[in-house]
Amino acid sequence: MSNYNIIMAEKSYLVRLGIMQVLEELKVQATISECSNIKEVKHRLKSMDVDVMIMNAAFKDISASEIIQLKSDHPGLKVAQIINSEEEAIPVVDHIINLNEDKRKVFQKIEAIFKSAQRPKHEASESGLSKREIEILRLVARGLTNSEIAEKLFISTHTVISHRKNISHKLGIKSVAGLTVYAVLNNYIDGSSIR
């Protein structure tokens, strides 16, 4: 079984320990990082590919719109929510675990979370950047803004942004300065053409 990256946004030590125990019994191999606020969650999501986020209903400052945003920024991320009672459930999460459920149900649900989280195994990053992405990378590295790129390539700014997201995700480099270094190191652009 592959190794999952999990974010655990649950303040209760006992609940965390319980979930770890279940994962162990289900033989789910996972690297777990604990986060205590939304800022930390975002930081983790930035620095690694996270498959599953398990969060408590009582988790500070998280809202439905926040979750929608997280999911659109990180496609493939599954969000599971732990609740005490039905009214705490946030409708946009992928899975809901009720603390009052019995062992069989809890096991079933947690297993389902990890089944749903099986990611297409890095096909993207292995094949590297697409032709279009390289084209865009070149322009980004030359210092063009998103709208300048859109105009030049006859596409919408929205498309440029989504290409850029993919580029950054594949390379693990987000800043323009960083992308420029990458482009020069790989001879996509000539170092002297940077403005």
Partner: protein
């Protein structure tokens, strides 16, 4: 799950370092130097005239990401915290950044042959350094003076019109989420070195740079957490007291 122990007054200082050596720079920032002998935290704090509640709060927050200092809040003046944060800043700017800069400048074995690579890395680091410096200066020039003014006003229960004007210019609600850019560049730098820097490179030197980047990253995150979990709530509380005072 990592087992974390809470650091307490009766623990020996030497023991604390054995438990978590990443606390060393934190301990240094309080002016405590090595050679602890068998002294406990309590004894050392007395010796160095350090507010122990505050010292423990900082150590524990650094040591355990799950540590929430809520209960101990307010046992010390916020000026102590600001002093500490400033010391951390100068540790970044005066110790860590120059160390990294030196390593990065010397990273390429043969700068003549690999001029471009050399230049690229130096320039990227210069970018990072500028962003970090700007960020720190903003906090020190704008946020911290505001906090100190606020505390003084609340403590003295007296507010001149001049001060009112100054205090109205800022609120901790705006405490910006701008650690982000600085963070981003640090991650990028790590990935460039780990994934994309073509040989020939000095492997030992690159490792040293990476160790240092990982360490700096952890320290910066812990620093941000101290701001978020200790400073922001303290200031929010002061703001409430100030509001009340103004209304009365």
């Amino acid at each position: 799950m990592k087992k974390t122990s809470v650091i307490n007054p009766g623990m020996k200082m030497a023991e604390v370092v054995h438990i978590d050596y990443t606390l060393l720079p934190v301990i240094n920032r309080f002016g405590i130097s090595l050679g602890f002998g068998d002294e406990t935290i309590e004894q050392i704090c007395r010796m160095y005239h350090i507010n122990m509640d505050f010292f423990l709060e900082i150590l524990n927050t650094f040591h355990d990401p799950d540590y929430f200092p809520e209960e101990n809040l307010k046992k010390y003046p916020i000026g102590l915290l600001i002093d500490y944060l400033k010391k951390t800043h100068s540790y970044y700017l005066e110790v860590k950044v120059p160390e990294l800069e030196k390593l990065i400048t010397g990273m390429i074995d043969d700068p003549k042959q690999e001029r471009q690579k050399h230049k690229l890395m130096n320039e990227f680091f210069a970018h990072y350094k500028k962003e970090l410096t700007d960020h720190i200066l903003r906090e020190e020039d704008k946020v911290y003076p505001y906090i100190l003014d606020l505390e003084k006003t609340v403590k003295e229960k007296n507010c001149s019109d001049e001060m009112k004007k100054r205090l109205n210019r800022y609120s901790i609600d705006h405490f910006p989420d701008e650690h982000d850019d600085v963070e981003e560049k640090l991650l990028d730098l790590k990935n460039i070195i780990i994934k994309y820097l073509p040989p020939p490179i000095d492997a030992n030197r690159c490792n040293a740079i990476l160790y240092m980047l990982f360490e700096l990253e952890k320290d910066l995150n812990d620093h941000a957490r101290i701001e978020d979990t200790i400073m922001v709530p303290m200031v929010a509380d002061l703001e409430k007291q100030y509001e009340k005072m103004i209304k009365a």
